[in-house]
Symmetry: C2
Amino acid sequence: MEKTTDIHITVYPFEVDFREKLTLPLLVNQLLNVAGVHADTHGFGINELNKNGHTWVLSRLAVEITNLPKKDEKLTLRTWVESLMRTFTLRNFAIFREDGTPIGYARSIWAMIDVQTRKPINLMGIGIEPFLSKEIDCPIQRGGKIPTPENYTEETFTVHYSDLDINKHLNSAKYVEHIMDGFSLEELDHHNIQRFEIEYLEECHFGDKITVRKSSQAQDNHTEHIFVLRNEKDEIVCKSKICTVKND
Amino acid sequence: MEKTTDIHITVYPFEVDFREKLTLPLLVNQLLNVAGVHADTHGFGINELNKNGHTWVLSRLAVEITNLPKKDEKLTLRTWVESLMRTFTLRNFAIFREDGTPIGYARSIWAMIDVQTRKPINLMGIGIEPFLSKEIDCPIQRGGKIPTPENYTEETFTVHYSDLDINKHLNSAKYVEHIMDGFSLEELDHHNIQRFEIEYLEECHFGDKITVRKSSQAQDNHTEHIFVLRNEKDEIVCKSKICTVKND
């Protein structure tokens, strides 16, 4: 059996932003979709897991892309599982243009938990090993520790119906949407996103008020934006680091 | 040439809500996508229009659906233009399951405007007539006048980056998302959306603070929810009427 799974998407007019580029949250959403299809196909998808009261939880995601695809472009999103540890699995992604040129890659880390106890499940010997694949290269760095800056601007949002996934938690791609909403149009108009990294720490529920703190620091040839999201208990629910480069 | 255009979609895990159903905003988004593909294919898409400084503006949309599709379902979305008036065109939609069963329909009204003057363009004789089609039935009522209720609950949102379309206006499907966010989880858990209607009145821009007023009225066998969205100038930017029916 194939160890990789592909989905083919077209970038439709209502999936692009004012720059006519596919939005990062929608790209992340599609990566999670192909991950779901891959897991389903190989017998460890959430439908199967739910029978035992288990589910997958995304812990980290790093995406690098040379340039977000434009309206009408056709893409292939490919995923495979690179390796397995006791409580984590590393899943990689590659993003191809229609002609087969790779334009981006992603790395993700997932845990399997018991829905009731929220405790991690041992991933060894439950049928994932036969599908591990190292044949494909994923030439981007793993996500690293993201700092908590002292200076920041702050905005808040409330978790609504449209933010929720099947489990009534803030949808992983919606974290990305709320993070991207911390940017001004000027920042996005003149910069491309080169690398995006996110670390998921706490689940968010309907009605939660989430504070988004953003701190931007110019580096030699790029700008590093750190986002720290906190709930009302002042717990950090997620951290993100986005590197942007000038596009002119 | 075919007068209709189809797109085929799969309902992926990250496109469903906590009820495991495709969300209404995503369905609307896909309807707008197939409309875009149809117009492009027939020579009157926005890329073509932009060359003359024109664009399409969605004025009204009504959607009826027996039950929103669930995760993993495959759908075909079909669109065609039913008729043409001097400043408006009526575009219809049908939604089919994989086996060809129709599960929903939609009707929409569009105007073409000059991007600079915002004035409507005469739609007669510009190449749309050959593609008019009345062969397919669209057995749902057109949208009617939506009242402005006196009693309501109120929430607000600010227009952010992720809300914007190519023209830097609030994306038509994002209006729907912000409207749906006026529902509680209890309302959505125990009711199905039977009919959704929206009337777009004003464009919204980055940073606009929009007030969403919701008024719900139980009728004989359904509940009617009216949503009125206003900007800071107290202009009504859109109205929506949603009929829900108990699902148990």
